[in-house]
Assembly symmetry: C2
Homo-oligomer: 366 residues x 2
């Protein structure tokens, strides 16, 4: 599989939903496989909150492959011998696309920080569309994404009707519900409560080296919703860390040790401001914004939706995706809904690829 990383730089302003402007701006992306002559074998992969453009493959020295490597590759469900797959890093994130820790202008030592504009899912998708335009891609075979990536897929379907053959929103929603907004709020406040966050004026290098307890706590809150109570039971039980005292205040159950490990590592590879901005984007997500109703929003869709949800998802519940199916049946008539039986939880879309790869394979081949 041919794997490349590129950066696309744009000098034309990006007009955001907020009324603010990004200028200049850039997107980092990876591609897998080869673009055919007609430029019509393109699949776009959209990532979740902590994801990146590194969706598949490995570079020399990497310890693990991209986050959807099980799905994307030669002969895999998203077959890179057939398709030219593009995975971008969304604007607002921290892996190379323009985000809150980017310099305010090229070469400046000043970073945007809290002056960075609020980014919405619509903006992320618009930026990706501009990238695709710049690559001369006039039609997509597919957009595939889970969680926040699923929001982008759905947004693509609504904002650019006729542009994509099949759209795969996975483990996502059409309108972030208050419960998820509340989770996001708790995470945002955990970050802000850490004095080392310095109201956004931290030294990013220092944070990556020394960590940020507030962001670690926020990541722990995330985990409470990424895997289900049942998975917590199965994975950890009530096992206690062998070297810790049961009656030490900070003695740890295995599950606590797991959260500590993943929490404290998180700031080493993810930026706290990007985290806050992307959570805001998720909270603001509402496919009907700008329309008079949800039905009107869904009526924009001209292409086929393939909806995949997981029965044990406690972040974006299957009910929410069934709602999408209901709207689609009313206005479009070209959608499929698959509900995967699983008690793993929201992260099924990352972890249980074997349970839905055939759906993606078959839908892509038909």
């Amino acid at each position: 599989m041919k794997l490349e990383t590129k950066i696309a730089k744009f000098t034309k302003p990006l007009y955001l939903e907020s009324g603010r402007i990004l200028e200049p701006w850039q997107i980092i992306y990876e591609t897998y496989g080869e673009l055919n002559e007609n430029r019509d074998n393109v699949i776009l992969i959209t990532h979740a909150l902590s994801g990146s453009h590194h969706a598949a493959g490995m570079y020399e020295g990497d310890r693990k492959p991209g986050w959807w490597d099980g799905l994307i590759g030669d002969g895999k469900a998203i077959d890179t011998t057939k398709y030219f797959v593009i995975a971008t890093n969304v604007i607002g994130s921290c892996f190379g696309s323009t985000g809150p820790i980017s310099p305010v202008y090229p070469g400046s030592s000043e970073r945007y920080r809290l002056k960075f504009p609020v980014i919405t899912i619509k903006d992320m998708v618009k930026a990706q569309k501009i990238l695709l335009d710049s690559l001369g891609i006039k039609h997509l075979k597919s957009v595939i994404g889970g969680s926040m990536g699923g929001m982008q897929a759905l947004r693509f379907a609504v904002d650019y009707p006729g542009f994509i053959e099949k759209i795969f929103p996975i483990a996502t929603t059409y309108q972030t519900r208050p419960y998820v907004i509340a989770i996001n709020k708790a995470m945002i406040e955990a970050v802000r409560s850490d004095c080392e966050f310095k109201n956004g004026n931290y030294d990013p290098k220092e944070i990556r080296k020394r960590g940020l307890k507030g962001l670690a706590a926020a990541r722990m809150i995330g985990y409470l919703n990424y895997i289900s109570p049942v998975t917590f039971d199965k994975k950890f039980g009530r096992d206690y860390v062998k070297t810790d005292g049961m009656f030490e205040l900070f003695g740890r159950f295995q599950v606590e040790s797991y959260l500590e490990y993943n929490g404290s590592n998180f700031p080493k590879w993810f930026d706290p401001l990007s985290y806050i901005y992307l959570l805001k984007a998720i909270s603001l997500f509402d496919i009907s914004r700008g329309f008079t109703s949800l039905k009107e929003a869904f009526s924009q869709i001209k292409d086929k939706l393939v909806l995949i949800s997981f029965s044990g998802d406690t972040l974006f519940f299957p009910e929410e995706m069934r709602e999408i199916k209901k709207y689609m049946d009313e206005v479009n008539g070209k959608s499929e809904y698959y509900e995967i039986k699983s008690d793993y939880g929201h992260d099924s879309f990352l972890v249980e690829i074997d349970k839905f790869e055939d759906i993606i394979k078959n839908e892509l081949n038909n």
Copy 2:
């Protein structure tokens, strides 16, 4: 209803499950109604994480009554014209019973802080039993409590068989599951991540005045589990605060404003160290500790359990209380299980009193 607040001071050591000793120690408690001559009309109320001994009634100048006022009072389900009701503040808490911000000895300006011993549910119950003994109470009509209060009720049943006529564990569990331990961990780390927590060496007066963002964030995490996703939907929808900008980074949905309000108020009335110690007690709770099996633990119970759970409780799931019922059927044969249909969430035991007050009333009268 006669309402009194008292403090019981003990000079004899309290031997804790950890092997540590509290000496001297004290319990603050309220009583409602009158103790009869035989001292056999006593009901003990056990409180949840953020609860206190102020379970019912109002003192002059109070803006709101105790936390279970709807249930306890003259002519109410827990009828104070018949029963003498005692509600204590658990040791480890911060409303007047010995806890981590208590002086290390009477009159000392040094507080325990992180030197305070880990307290377990067993210890809380033991302390309450010593209080009851000191009041010459040899038998309880009932122990009634929800959440952490339900753990105490269950612990009473196991540790002091034959002492109580009917025990009401409500919205609780027999063994804190890994998922809840994980929630507790995220809350604890949110508190610790706030530099103003100063590793436990904060000035309590300052915190009560100025707040503690980490504790506020922890309280928000709590709310995510006290009310259900459905309740979040019903209560708040996606309404936005009228004076906030949709595209301001810290602009707020109503649900965020609600969390901010309750979060930021919390440190004004609850102590961060007590919070951590009580979360630890909840995580450690396992009715079978000290026994070879759960069955052996439940076999200790000689009295009648009245179990009440709520179908929409996403913190202590009804399944967990059905497990208790299953064990009781095996070993005791004297239990009742009531599952209240409700989608409110864990806080049903505080908020939806009208849905279970008759159960308590009838069970107390039979």
